[in-house]
Symmetry: C2
Subunit: 487 residues, 2 copies
């Protein structure tokens, strides 16, 4: 057990060699990003590349240059494609070269951002304060950066449970609940809310999904009726989740009306604004969010419509004390001290699940300062205008049919053939979508709307241009025609 | 709402300028890491630097070079210090320059690693398979990388609840439980397990903390008795959490004995091996983990004793079907398709909380291949030998007292003064610790052991050398003497 001498380290024996290789990697990445438009959006990872991954446990070292070579040849060319100008699948951000550099800085500095006394804590606090102000949350709101929207919703709903359960939920768990706790959202709510409700032990049966209107917005009178019905049946309603930007169609609930219901009923009002909340940065779009400023909490991503690379989501909470009461623990090795690095405790670890935390705030801070929030708002507005442009192309085209309103950045449509029923059109449009994806010309995803298969274009992409949407329409027409002709 | 022409993008107008700045950043980071030993471990962020952070919302852009200059001047010099050779606070990894480059590559590629068809999925699957093999988990185990150990424990305990609740817990929540679900761990269990049990709605009252012996290991007969007692009282025990490497003293429970109890009682056996599990890479230490290979799940970090930069933890689960059944949801926009990028569904999103996921697997894959797992194991053994070395220095020193066994990489001790009681020594050692932290010479943290304040040294640092521990002992003596002399 005696250590060998000289002692080992993972630092390189030759820093110059590593430095040279690092610069080559960075150059390659810049080339990769500069020329992304020239490559297919997506292409499957070739079998040979996958086969080369299938190595036994690497017990002995390989030169980093060789490992990098394998990465550059077999991995880097086969991303999902969300960095590409014609990627509009699901809701995924593009990333930026500046964000890449910020992640590099964060990884090199590698500070533990639990919220003790180090610079990352202060950067995160400042950045959260900016976001709170931009979203209309009061000064003194609490918040933290998390891995993404799913985690952001989970954190917020945990705070809601703490605030509204009416019993010592951390101590007894839901075993101590005198009545089922119920949570309300529309049928269009994101699956992460269901996941959160399940993980928290509330159960999907107690996530009450309220119908939506033709614009995919929650029907508020139905919500009020459901709350009354559940109360009469002995349940304890605790929270309403409004959505700012549904994943299927980009609808935003009437947040002001939901806030009013919550105020009247004494419920927690949480807004899942995974992508929609950042619309607050675009003055001409901000009215969509009216009522958000009354929410008790909001969850949103910076790696979607903030255009940043993975992973960074955010929860903001109006009530810092309840937020802390939800998560704070103080084991003997973690207590706040009067001086030193632990002075003031672990601010952010006491506000969420994570204790060890990386410095994901850095890329947000740098992005907001470097781009300016006005420009990010203009890009968001540009994406909405692009959706409008695509919707217009679809609406004017005799062979295309729009399948839902496009109030924000999502357009759902299909290729139609006179005389074909929905079943036939569903199969046809699935085939069209696959071919478009497989040829790498563009990458929309799909959804089902009222039993109809929709090609779904969600635009949170700072590299897209109007011509890209025209190219998509052309591709749908070309591929649709080819499929019909049996090609 | 018409988009301006030409359309906006966040890509730079001048790639050459950005590229040049990126290379400067990278050079600065290499200098920063090469010379880390010459700087103080920790120093508080100066008031002036904090004051410069306090800007209003940055609505207009600032040059990235200027933002970087602020970062380099006001942020980068003030990390927590875990990159430093004499940082041994809490349990935090050091990071590596190679890991920094891998994070840069991941951020540039920026693929969505939910587990659809892209290269990141296959890299993650391969890397998880290696780790499963190294930890003695069977081929075909499931797993995923997460933000860290807290999340890894939460994921594993959610699977345990799903497996053992005995009712449709996702549907009804704990409201549907015929009996309180109970979870068992020692009094030394990490606070993240308590957090997980609370978040899951089981409640801290149902996390049964079993006493430990003088070596801080769970007393297995007490565990068996508690399970029997709780069953008799109508509870439904579901899981036992064994610890591989407690945070206070580095103790490891008798995992084989815990496995036997769980087998007999039909309970889920989870191991929190946040740092201890990677001891499996060091053949001479692996016997400590005997029984781990029988666990149903294990949680561990790569950003602790894997030496990687934040954030990367891992959950492995022996039962892939239950793992998936715990988290999988299939909304209409996310369903698996037969072809295209969504073919095969969202492997990893169905195994945890996150839907959007970054490519954190990349740095693990690159590190295992570049360093080789043997070398990582040798570094772990080196840290254990360094702890032994420090423990010996303490034991041989008349003015130092070891406060706990040091079976792994954690040493707890204090400065003693003949005739002073614990209260006086606690205050004295707190003062010693603060001064050492504040002068930046080293960064141990503290814990309380039986009412006694311990200076706690946790070694998961590939930059530490034996001379660093001798320097710590000298600093404790110098500072202790100075305090006693009223200096």
């Amino acid at each position: 057990m005696n250590p060998p001498a000289p002692e080992l380290t993972l630092d390189p024996a030759d820093w110059t060699e590593l430095r040279t290789l690092g610069h080559r990697m960075l150059d390659d990445l810049f080339d990769y990003l500069m020329h992304v438009r020239e490559r297919p959006v997506w292409q499957p990872m070739p079998g040979a590349a996958r086969a080369r991954l299938a190595e036994p446990v690497p017990r002995t070292p390989q030169p980093l240059a060789a490992v990098y070579e394998q990465f550059a040849r077999d991995v880097l060319p086969y991303p999902l494609g969300n960095i590409h100008p014609r990627f509009w699948g699901w809701v995924i951000g593009t990333g930026t070269p500046q964000g890449m550099l910020a992640d590099m800085l964060a990884a090199g500095m590698n500070t533990q951002a639990a919220g003790v006394q180090e610079a990352g804590r202060h950067v995160e606090e400042q950045t959260l304060a900016w976001l709170a102000e931009l979203l209309g949350f009061p000064r003194g709101s609490s918040g933290l950066f998390v891995s993404g929207g799913s985690m952001a919703n989970l954190v917020a709903l945990a705070v809601a449970r703490q605030a509204k359960a009416g019993f010592a939920v951390r101590d007894t768990g839901l075993h101590g609940s005198p009545a089922p706790l119920t949570v309300y959202a529309s049928t269009e709510v994101h699956s992460s809310v269901r996941k959160a409700v399940e993980l928290m032990g509330i159960g999907t049966a107690n996530l009450k999904l309220i119908p939506v209107d033709r614009e995919y917005r929650i029907v508020v009178p139905e919500l009020a009726a459901a709350i009354a019905r559940d109360r009469a049946a002995g349940a304890r309603p605790i929270a309403v989740v409004g959505t700012a930007g549904t994943v299927n169609t980009g609808a935003t609930d009437d947040l002001a009306a939901l806030a009013a219901v919550c105020r009247q009923e004494g419920l927690w009002f949480h807004v899942d604004g995974a992508f929609g909340a950042l619309v607050a940065l675009a003055p001409e779009l901000k009215p969509i969010l009216a009522g958000l400023e009354q929410a008790d909490s909001v969850a949103f991503d910076l790696h979607k419509w903030g255009y940043l690379p993975f992973e960074v989501g955010c929860t903001l909470v109006r009530h810092p004390d309840v937020h802390r009461d939800t998560f704070a623990v103080a084991p003997s090795y973690l207590g706040a001290t009067a001086r030193g690095p632990a002075a003031g405790g672990v601010l952010f670890a006491d506000l969420g699940v994570q204790l060890s935390r990386g410095f994901r705030a850095l890329k947000v801070w740098m992005a907001l300062k470097t781009h300016g929030t006005d420009l990010i708002g203009r890009l968001i507005a540009q994406n909405v205008a692009q959706a409008r442009y695509l919707a217009d192309l679809v609406d004017r085209h005799p062979r295309l049919e729009r399948l839902a309103p496009a109030p924000l950045n999502i357009v759902c449509f299909r290729f139609v053939v006179p005389g074909q029923d929905d079943a036939a059109l569903n199969a046809l449009n699935q085939e069209i979508l696959w071919r478009i994806q497989e040829t790498g010309v563009a990458l929309p995803s799909h959804t089902m709307l009222g039993g109809r298969f929709a090609i779904r274009v969600a635009i949170t992409n700072h590299r897209s241009r109007r011509e890209d949407f025209a190219a998509l329409v052309q591709a749908v027409m070309d591929v649709g025609t080819a499929v019909l002709e049996g090609r």
